[in-house]
C-alpha cells in the first residue's frame, strides 16, 4: 500500500520529466557519455597511451576516426578514456560537495548563532575566482585526479551550502516545524526528519549543476597542468597538448572540446528538467 502510494507520486514526477523533451535529450546525452566511460576499454580501437611516430598528425580518416596527435596516439581512444577522468572527478566532486554542503547548510540555517561564522567562511572561499582557488589547492597538494577532485570540492562546497541553507531557512519557518517543536521534538529530530527531507529537491538540482561545473573546471585545471598529469588522457590535457598545433591539427582540440560541451549541455538540460519536474508548485 505504502509503496504503491509513493510510487504514484514518483510516477507523476517522472511523467512531468518525460514531457520535457530537452530534459530527456540531456538525460540521453549523459547516458551515452556514461556508457562511453564504462565501455572505453572495449570500444576504443587502440591503446590510448601507445605512441606511433609514423602516424603523427593524421587528420580524421577511416583508420583513425578522430585523427592522431603529435605522438601519433589515436585521438578517438584518448577521448573515450578521457570521459572516465571527467566523470570520475565529477562524481567525486558531487559526492563531497553534497555531503559537506548539506552538513554546513543545515547547521548554518538551523542554528543562527553558527550561521554568521559558517557563512562568512563560505563567503571568503567564494570571493576567490573559481579556477584560481582550484589551481592553488592543487599546487599545494600536487597534481593528480583525486587532488583535482578535492580542490574542486572545496571550490563548490560554498555554493551548495548556500542553496541548502536558504532551503533550511524557508522550511524552518514553516508551520509543520513549529508543530514538531510544540510536540517536543529535539533539534536533531527536527533537522533529520522534517528539514532534511524537504531540502532534497534543491540539493538534487544543484548537484547536476555542480557536476557540470566540475567537468568544465576539471578540463580547465588539466589545461593549465593542474589536473591528472600526462600521459593519462583527460579531456583537459588533450586540449592543452593540442593547443600548440591548433593551426595545423585542429582536430586535436576540436574533439575533446565537443565532448566537454556535450557533457555540460546534457547535465544542464537534465538539471533544468529536474528542477521543473520536482517542484510541486509547477503543476502543468
Amino acid at each position: 500500500m505504502k509503496s504503491q502510494k509513493s510510487k504514484l507520486g514518483e510516477n507523476k514526477k517522472w511523467q512531468r520529466l518525460k514531457r520535457n523533451k530537452m530534459a530527456i535529450a540531456g538525460l540521453l546525452i549523459i547516458c551515452a557519455i556514461l556508457l562511453i566511460a564504462i565501455l572505453a576499454p572495449y570500444i576504443s580501437p587502440y591503446d590510448p597511451l601507445v605512441l606511433n611516430i609514423r602516424s603523427r598528425f593524421q587528420s580524421p580518416n577511416s583508420e583513425f576516426l578522430f585523427g592522431t596527435d603529435n605522438y601519433g596516439r589515436d585521438l578517438f581512444s584518448r577521448v573515450l578514456y578521457g570521459a572516465r577522468v571527467s566523470l570520475k572527478v565529477g562524481v567525486i566532486v558531487v559526492f563531497i560537495t553534497s555531503a559537506l554542503g548539506t552538513f554546513f547548510g543545515l547547521i548554518a540555517g538551523y542554528f543562527r548563532k553558527l550561521d554568521y561564522v559558517i557563512m562568512r567562511v563560505m563567503d571568503a572561499f567564494m570571493s576567490f575566482p573559481t579556477i584560481l582557488l582550484g589551481i592553488s589547492i592543487v599546487a599545494i597538494l600536487s597534481p593528480s585526479e583525486m587532488n583535482a577532485a578535492i580542490a574542486l570540492s572545496v571550490v563548490y562546497t560554498p555554493r551548495t551550502t548556500r542553496i541548502v541553507r536558504s532551503a533550511v531557512l524557508e522550511i524552518k519557518g514553516s508551520e509543520f516545524v513549529r508543530a514538531a517543536k510544540s510536540l517536543g521534538a529535539s533539534d536533531f529530530r527536527i533537522i533529520l526528519k522534517h528539514i532534511l527531507p524537504n531540502c532534497l529537491t534543491p540539493l538534487i538540482v544543484q548537484s547536476t549543476f555542480v557536476f557540470a561545473y566540475a567537468v568544465l573546471a576539471e578540463a580547465s585545471l588539466s589545461f593549465v597542468g593542474a589536473g591528472p598529469p600526462p600521459p593519462a588522457p583527460s579531456w583537459g590535457n588533450i586540449l592543452s597538448e593540442g593547443r600548440q598545433y591548433i593551426r595545423t591539427a585542429p582536430w586535436i582540440t576540436i574533439f575533446p572540446g565537443i565532448f566537454i560541451a556535450l557533457t555540460v549541455l546534457g547535465l544542464n538540460l537534465t538539471g533544468d528538467g529536474l528542477r521543473d519536474a520536482l517542484d510541486p508548485k509547477m503543476k502543468k
Binding site: S174, F176, A180, L183, G184, A185, H194
Partner: protein
C-alpha cells in the same frame, strides 16, 4: 484578579515584544509590542475564546504560552507551576500536557510524511508506545476518534482535503493526551460547511477527554458556539473578558460593542444599528498613549489619552479595561 481555585492555566501580566533590529551592529531600534501586559485564566474543562482582529497578538499569545516564542515578561502558570521558568527538559515534559492545533492545515503537516508518521511522531518523541504494533494500534485509534478511517494511514497530506487535514492535526495533538489545547484559528482556513464539522468534533473530544481549550479566532459567531467565556483583544491588550452570555448580551467595552454590531443577522427585516469604527488599527510599534483604543473610541474622554485603564472586575467575573465605565 480574583484567584480561581480550579484554574488550569493562569496568565499574569504576560508581555511579548519583538525587537526591530537595524544598522550595522543590529541595534534594537524599536519594539513591536505584540502582547502587552495581559492577564487571564482558564478553568479546567472550559473553553476560553480569544478574539480580536488580525495583528492584535492573539496568535502570539498562544505561541508564547506554549514557549514557541520566548516571553518578554510575565508568568504563565500551568497546574500551579510557572512554565516560563522551566528548563529545556521540563518544557519537553510540559508539551505532553499542552498542545496546539494550527490555523493552516496545509502548512502544518510535513508533506513528506505519511499520516501514520505524522500522528505517530509524538508517540515516538515521548516514548508512549513500546513497539511498532502498539504504535499502529494507537494511531488507528486516534484516527478513529477524529473521524478518519484506517485506510488513510499510509497516505500523504496532499491527498486529503482541508477538513481532513485539520483532523489529522487534531489527532496529532491528541496523541500525547494533553490537558490543554490551544486552538489557533483552527477553522478559519476551512470552508464554512466544514467549519461546523470540525467545531463539533472539537466539542465532542472535549467532552470525551475532558479537554480545556484556548480557542483563538477572529470570528465572533464561531467563538459564540464553542466558548464558555470570551476574552476580547485589541492591539496587544485584553479589553474585556467575561462569560459568553454576558459578552453577547451585555458588552461593556466600546470595542466589543462595535465588534458585535458587525455580526450579520440572517434576517433582513431586523434593522440593526451598526457601530462603524473610524480609522485603522494603530501600529503596535508605537501604540497610542493611555487607552490604546482611544483614537477610535466613540466615547473618548480626556483621561483616556493619558492614562492606561485598569483591567477591573465589574459584576460577576466581568473584566473590562475602560475609563468610560468609571464615570
Amino acid at each position: 484578579m480574583a484567584v480561581e481555585s480550579n484554574a488550569l492555566l493562569r496568565v499574569n501580566n504576560l508581555k511579548k515584544y519583538f525587537p526591530i533590529k537595524a544598522g550595522l551592529f543590529r541595534k534594537t531600534v524599536a519594539q513591536v509590542k505584540a502582547v502587552d501586559d495581559i492577564s487571564f485564566y482558564i478553568n479546567e474543562g472550559e473553553t476560553l475564546g480569544l478574539v480580536g482582529e488580525s495583528g492584535c497578538g492573539k496568535s502570539t499569545t498562544g505561541a508564547t504560552i506554549l514557549q514557541l516564542e520566548k516571553a518578554t515578561a510575565g508568568e504563565v502558570i500551568f497546574q500551579g507551576k510557572d512554565v516560563l521558568s522551566f528548563s529545556k527538559k521540563e518544557i519537553r515534559g510540559m508539551r505532553r500536557d499542552m498542545q496546539i492545533i494550527f490555523q493552516d492545515p496545509y502548512a502544518s503537516l510535513n508533506p513528506r510524511m505519511t499520516v501514520t508518521e505524522i500522528v505517530g511522531e509524538p508517540l515516538d518523541i515521548h516514548k508512549l508506545v513500546r513497539n511498532k504494533q502498539e504504535k499502529k494500534e494507537r494511531v488507528k485509534q486516534l484516527l478513529g476518534s477524529v473521524g478518519l478511517s484506517t485506510e488513510h494511514m499510509h497516505r500523504y497530506p496532499h491527498e486529503f482535503s482541508g477538513g481532513q487535514r485539520q483532523r489529522i492535526g487534531i489527532a496529532r495533538a491528541l496523541a500525547v493526551e494533553p490537558k490543554l489545547i490551544i486552538a489557533d484559528e483552527p477553522v478559519s482556513a476551512l470552508d464554512v460547511s466544514i467549519q461546523a464539522q470540525v467545531i463539533n468534533l472539537l466539542q465532542e473530544l472535549q467532552q470525551e477527554y475532558g479537554l480545556t481549550y484556548l480557542f483563538i479566532a477572529h470570528d465572533l459567531s464561531v467563538v459564540k458556539h464553542i466558548s464558555d467565556r470570551v476574552a476580547v483583544m485589541y492591539l496587544g491588550k485584553i479589553v474585556e473578558m467575561t462569560s459568553k452570555v454576558d459578552i453577547y448580551d451585555n458588552p461593556l467595552h466600546p470595542y466589543t460593542q462595535s465588534l458585535l454590531s458587525a455580526i450579520p443577522i440572517p434576517d433582513p427585516t431586523i434593522n440593526k444599528e451598526r457601530i462603524v469604527l473610524e480609522g485603522d488599527v494603530p501600529s503596535p510599534i508605537n501604540p497610542p498613549s493611555g487607552c490604546r483604543f482611544h483614537p477610535r473610541c466613540p466615547h473618548v474622554m480626556e483621561i483616556c489619552r493619558g492614562e492606561d485603564p485598569e483591567f477591573k472586575v465589574y459584576g460577576d467575573n466581568h473584566y473590562v479595561a475602560c475609563h468610560f465605565l468609571d464615570r
